[in-house]
């Protein structure tokens, strides 16, 4: 036992400790990679806890849930309560409210606080005063609101402000987190405040233990109107989770790319270790150390980096997660579902997966150099320069492998999604990255050979020397170039994807938004939340002299085919409807004239994609007491994630006779005074309504878009940082290794600044190469992202677009950072004494 340990300490640990800067840079790169994966994992976990999951933690121990689009008639409750079975029914009104002056939408719940069941569900949550409805409009609030009993709180619900008295603070029951920011009131009050008199959003059912849940579910099913759904508690948050899965996968895969960058650096570090300890390895082998023994020693080095890096990465990840939660939560709210960012939970599962990934990827990355170390023959160790020869020989074989990998990557993009996830496309991205890494040595060698003359003339002898050195040490530099290329490619591909998406959305907004003003209730927005405007408002707007037409849109969150979707009632008349753009090949005029005449639907492209719906398909949607069938007339471009189904407003009103609109579009008469119109609109609508002009709404939408992608930009930045750090570490290693060479240069007359320039040129050339290769790879990857991954995950049609400014800025930054990474090694070399250096070893 002591033998191997001693060897590990002497051969591996001691050199690492002697080079603290390089070792810690590698360590840090691994840590950043692992940290990013952990942070994204933690943050998405915390941020994607939807409103429904938080509601469920408030339901107590209910087993089934009854709900319906547009709510249930409360009279149903009487019938249910009389059933001669020991059920317990707890009616609920579910909505959102935001505290006056704050944008965040909070779950607003109406519960039967007198009914024994309602009270019981809250045992330990509401305090004793729970059932005292004595103060004016009492509300119980989550502790995160920071209010105290007796406080008055102004809440915006839909478009109206209401004042409540805080009757108590919701206690945190063990193991529950959902009520931290909820607001609970008695059910009658909640109905009134949300304009849902006579209606319930859901009924919680506690079922008897005597039979299975499925038995009771079927039994209840028979008692309910067709339009009601009865499903196990948790089904709605399960749907939310399913919808969020694509989003989580996307982020996760992006974070894995940072880990891949880290893997390249481990590979590089171990390779350097192997190269520099050839002599020692030779000695160990000569003294009887087996091949396996040597290989294991280097794997142990990787393991050391993996373990230490992962441990550090966990800490980093935890810290970064705190920052990332907000960013991820933004995206989730804007695109998917009202979520309630939970505190970041550091579980053992997260620790295990973080450490597991870190260690696994380190070992895998170190396999090749470790095997190479084990192949070193005792005699071979004495010879110098052979490793470059080996690398050169292998490059031919690598080319073949790279070709196969590229072909496979291309083939994988043609495969369909697996369970809604573009798994093959992700695999294709990874393959393309490795294939590129494989061709990098050849690329460097060719670049060095072909560019030599030109570079020498343009930049002088130092640049030429730098280029030669790059070309001569392909084995080593190619790994660095691969790491940097991967990071650049990631930035470029995501940059192109986001830029294309942004441009597509911008163009789409231009055509989709045709009205002059848009009104919706104030308070935070989320894709699944549809607060309503008071029904009189649009009528009043129609009477304004400047107004030509008013369009009402009413949206409901429904579930379709096991996924959440949005059902909207729209008005397509004279002016309206011009904004809808159908997919190619659909007869717009015919569709729009037929649409308002019956049970017809238009669906958004993502919805069509998710549910394999085409024009002519029939959607069955339970509405207003029965299952209704809507024939799909057309599929239109849509860049929301919510899965849109649009039906004519009059048709929807027939089934759900609630005239309130979720938003209103106002068209002015030609030549109407828009400023005066705005004043008038503002006067009629009051403070609970937000009024946007066309331009404001567009800008707002783009701002939301940018905000939702801030997490992607953050991910890229980290990946770049990891790569740059690797470059710095590796440059330092090579310069130290080549100190005799530099000393020799000094002896033959090179000035200190010239040596410095050589090193900086090397860094610059590396940066240039990586930028070039990264741009090419990134552009290829962006095609996969846009046309395969996006299409399969979300169903959006995105037009390709070069975000030139963004790319230029990113590449410049990478280039500058790479050159800067050469500064420290350059200084180290220029400071050393050529006499000492040349006598060393």
């Amino acid at each position: 036992m002591t033998g191997p340990w001693l060897l590990f300490v002497r051969l591996i640990l001691r050199p690492l400790v002697r080079e603290p800067v390089r070792s810690s840079l590698t360590l840090f790169a691994v840590a950043l990679g692992v940290g990013l994966v952990v942070a994204i994992d933690l943050a998405t976990q915390a941020a994607t806890r939807s409103f429904h999951s938080s509601l469920e933690s408030m339901t107590g121990k209910s087993d089934l849930l009854i709900h319906a689009t547009g709510g249930l008639d409360e009279a149903l409750l009487e019938r249910l309560a009389q059933l001669p079975y020991p059920f317990d029914f707890a009616p609920r009104v579910e909505d959102f409210a935001s505290v006056d002056g704050k944008g965040e939408a909070l779950p607003f719940l109406g519960l039967d606080l007198i009914g024994h069941r309602g009270g019981q569900g809250f045992e330990g949550t509401l305090d004793d005063s729970a059932r005292r409805l004595d103060s004016g409009d009492p509300a119980w609030v989550g502790r995160r609101l920071g209010l105290r009993r007796g406080d008055r709180v102004r809440l915006l619900i839909n478009d109206t402000m209401h004042v409540f008295t805080v009757a108590g603070v919701l206690k945190k029951a063990p193991g529950e987190i959902g009520e931290e920011n909820a607001i609970v009131t008695d059910i009658g009050l909640a109905q009134k405040m949300t304009g849902k008199q006579g209606r319930l959003d859901s009924i919680d059912v506690k079922i008897p233990q005597s039979r299975t849940a499925e038995f009771w579910r079927r039994m209840l099913r028979g008692m309910l109107p067709e339009s009601a759904t009865v499903e196990p508690q948790g089904a709605r948050s399960e749907q939310d989770r399913k919808m969020l899965a694509a989003f989580r996968w996307n982020l996760r895969v992006l974070s894995y790319i940072a880990l891949v960058v880290g893997a390249f650096l481990i590979y590089n570090t171990i390779s350097i270790s192997v190269v520099r300890r050839r002599t020692e390895i030779g000695v160990v082998r000569a003294l009887g150390g087996t091949r396996r023994f040597v290989g294991a020693a280097f794997l142990a080095e990787a393991l050391t980096f993996g373990l230490a890096g992962s441990a550090l990465g966990l800490l980093l990840g935890r810290a970064m997660a705190a920052g990332a939660v907000g960013l991820v939560s933004n995206t989730v709210q804007a695109l998917y579902v009202s979520s309630d960012a939970a505190p970041v939970e550091f579980t053992w599962a997260v620790v295990a997966s973080g450490v597991g990934l870190g260690v696994a990827i380190s070992i895998v990355a170190a396999l090749a150099p470790a095997v190479e170390a084990s192949r070193i023959a005792p005699v071979e160790a004495m010879a110098r320069g052979r490793e470059e020869y080996v690398a050169a020989i292998r490059s031919g074989r690598r080319g073949v492998w790279a070709g196969v990998a590229f072909a496979a990557a291309a083939a994988l993009t043609q495969l369909p999604a697996v369970d809604g996830q573009p798994l093959f496309a992700y695999a294709s991205v990874m393959l393309a990255i490795f294939a590129t890494a494989a061709v990098i040595p050849a690329a460097i060698a060719n670049f060095a050979r072909m560019a030599q003359g030109a570079i020498g003339k343009m930049l002088g002898v130092e640049a030429m020397l730098a280029l030669r050195s790059l070309g001569a040490s392909v084995g080593r530099t190619s790994i660095l170039a691969a790491a940097l290329t991967t990071a650049v490619a990631m930035t470029v591909s995501v940059g192109i994807m986001v830029g294309s998406f942004r441009e597509t959305v911008r163009v789409w907004l231009d055509s989709a938004l045709q009205a002059d003003f848009y009104l919706r209730p104030a308070g935070g927005a989320a894709a699944d939340r549809h607060p309503t405007l008071s029904p009189r408002l649009p009528n009043d707007l129609e009477r304004l002299p400047e107004v030509a037409a008013v369009e009402r849109l009413r949206a409901y969150r429904i579930s379709y085919g096991g996924l959440p979707a949005t059902l909207a009632g729209i008005e397509i008349g004279g002016l309206a409807g011009t904004g809808i753009r159908f997919l190619p090949g659909e007869d717009r005029k015919a569709i729009l004239s037929k649409f308002p005449t019956g049970d017809y639907a238009l669906v958004g492209e993502p919805f069509a994609n998710q549910h394999s719906v085409r024009p002519g398909s029939v959607l069955r949607i339970p509405l207003g007491g029965a299952d209704r069938s809507f024939q799909v007339l057309g599929v239109y471009y849509d860049y929301s994630t919510a899965g849109f189904i649009e039906v004519d407003r009059k048709i929807l009103l027939k089934y759900l006779p609630d005239p309130a609109a979720s938003s209103v579009a106002v068209y002015l008469k030609p030549g109407g005074d828009s400023r005066q119109a705005r004043e008038e609109i503002g006067r009629i609508s009051g403070p609970g309504v937000m009024v946007f002009s066309n331009g404001e709404l567009r800008r707002g939408a783009i701002a939301v878009f940018d905000r939702t992608f801030s997490i992607t930009y953050a991910l890229e930045a980290v990946a770049i940082a990891v790569a740059i750090m690797g470059v710095a570490g590796a440059l330092l290693a090579t310069t130290i290794e080549r100190r005799r060479e530099f000393a020799l240069l000094r002896f033959i007359g090179a000035e200190q600044p010239q040596v410095r320039r050589i090193i900086l040129c090397e860094a610059g050339l590396l940066g240039l190469l990586a930028n070039g290769l990264g741009l090419a790879l990134g552009a290829a990857l962006s095609l996969i992202l846009i046309f395969v991954i996006n299409k399969q995950s979300f169903g959006w049609t995105i037009q390709f677009h070069w975000p030139a400014a963004l790319l230029l800025a990113a590449l410049t930054a990478v280039y500058v950072a790479t050159v800067a990474a050469g500064l420290y090694p350059a200084r180290t070399v220029t400071r050393m004494n050529p006499m000492e250096a040349i006598h060393e070893g």
Partner: protein, 369 residues
């Protein structure tokens, strides 16, 4: 006199209830069937069913099913603000208890609702009072025949009740006086002998066909018991010579018996005789201490009514019939099936009935304030 649900305290009435409620005053004109159902002008009302039943195999059961209604006077603001359906101006509590006397198991549960969209209520039109799927439905308003249904996790109880005697109105001049003040009283109606027949389903996996005798009380009043009372002991006695007795002893906080304790004797022909406090003596005997509440209940009593020549010893074969629940919204009390044995005018008599004892568990449960 019955265990008064503390619901008034649950939905705290914001105004002193007093003046706005109708008081139970002498000279009340009873009108049936109207008076079998709700009196929303009175603050508190209850319909109480208890009984001793026997299964075909001889197994003995006691049951209690009670419907309480508590009126809540809302402030004008509250009344205006809350939607009519869910306005918490009537709160309904119901208690259900089963005493498996031979299986020595006592189970009780309660529920609480406001009227809501038909969750609970009392309606002459529908001939019923109910709380969820617990209900008493009058199948005949003339004969007074009723059907009880109570569904809970442990069992379902369905009983048909047929009055064997006409109803009894307790007290004098239509009021059962509980204190010195006018209105410190209740209107108190009983069916003292109801033939009961029905099914108990799902009790520990078995079902039983039951037969026996039940007793029904209906009482409505506003602020009936004075603040000086600590509790009461209430007896329902159904003798095998076709006579019944209702007796209650009101206990003051000072420990002595209130002079407003009283009772009613119903003879075999259904004629009633009012018994004032001085007409009877209730002497507590052996006590039993509840492990749950810590309260000590005198579970054995000696009843003496010299003017009727009656001496009875009350016993119960099963002492643990306390309705205790930590989370309960109503006070803890003891209410159980009991038997009586003794003599009347030197004739040996025996009988069954129910005993209720309140105010022994202190105010630990916080429902009363």
């Amino acid at each position: 006199m019955r265990a008064r649900a503390g619901v008034c305290l649950i939905v705290a009435a914001t105004v002193a209830c007093g003046q706005q409620w109708q008081l139970a005053l002498p000279g009340y004109h009873y009108e049936f069937p109207r008076d079998h159902f709700s009196h929303s002008d009175y603050q508190t009302e209850w319909w109480y069913y208890t009984g001793n039943l026997r299964a075909a195999d001889g197994r003995r059961f006691g049951f209690e099913l009670t419907f309480f209604r508590e009126g809540v006077r809302l402030t004008k603001q509250q009344a205006a603000e809350s939607d009519a359906t869910w306005r918490p101006d009537q709160v309904y509590v119901a208690h259900l208890a089963l005493s498996d006397l031979d299986g020595r198991e006592f189970y009780h549960t309660e529920r609480l609702n406001r009227a809501g969209p038909g969750l609970a209520g009392s309606s002459l039109k529908e001939r019923r009072y109910w709380n969820g799927n617990w209900q008493a439905r009058w199948t005949s308003l003339n004969s007074g025949e009723q059907q009880l249904q109570a569904v809970c996790e442990r069992f379902t109880l369905r009983l048909k009740l047929r009055p064997e005697k006409p109803l009894t109105i307790h007290g004098r001049e239509g009021v059962s006086q509980k204190g010195p003040q006018a209105g410190e009283a209740s209107h108190y109606i009983s069916f003292t002998r109801l033939a009961a027949e029905g099914q108990l389903e799902g009790w520990n996996g078995r079902s039983y066909s039951l037969k026996g005798l039940a007793w029904m009380d209906h009482e409505f009043f506003s602020q009936a018991s004075g603040q000086a009372l600590a509790g009461w002991d209430w007896f329902a006695v159904q003798l095998n010579n076709n006579e019944e007795l209702m007796l209650y002893r009101l206990r003051r906080k000072s420990g002595e018996r209130s002079p407003y304790s009283s009772g009613t004797f119903v003879d075999a022909a259904g004629r009633t005789r009012f018994l004032s406090a001085s007409d009877f003596v209730l002497a507590p005997g052996t006590t039993w201490q509840s492990a749950a509440s810590g309260a000590r209940y005198p579970v054995e009593w000696k009843i003496s009514i010299p003017c009727l020549g009656i001496e009875l010893w009350e016993r119960t074969g099963f002492r643990d019939q306390e309705l205790f629940s930590k989370e309960s919204v109503t006070p803890t009390y003891w209410e159980g099936a009991v038997t009586y044995e003794g003599h009347e005018q030197s004739q040996a008599v025996k009988g069954v009935g129910y005993l209720e004892m309140t105010g022994y568990a202190g105010l630990r449960n916080g429902a009363q304030r």
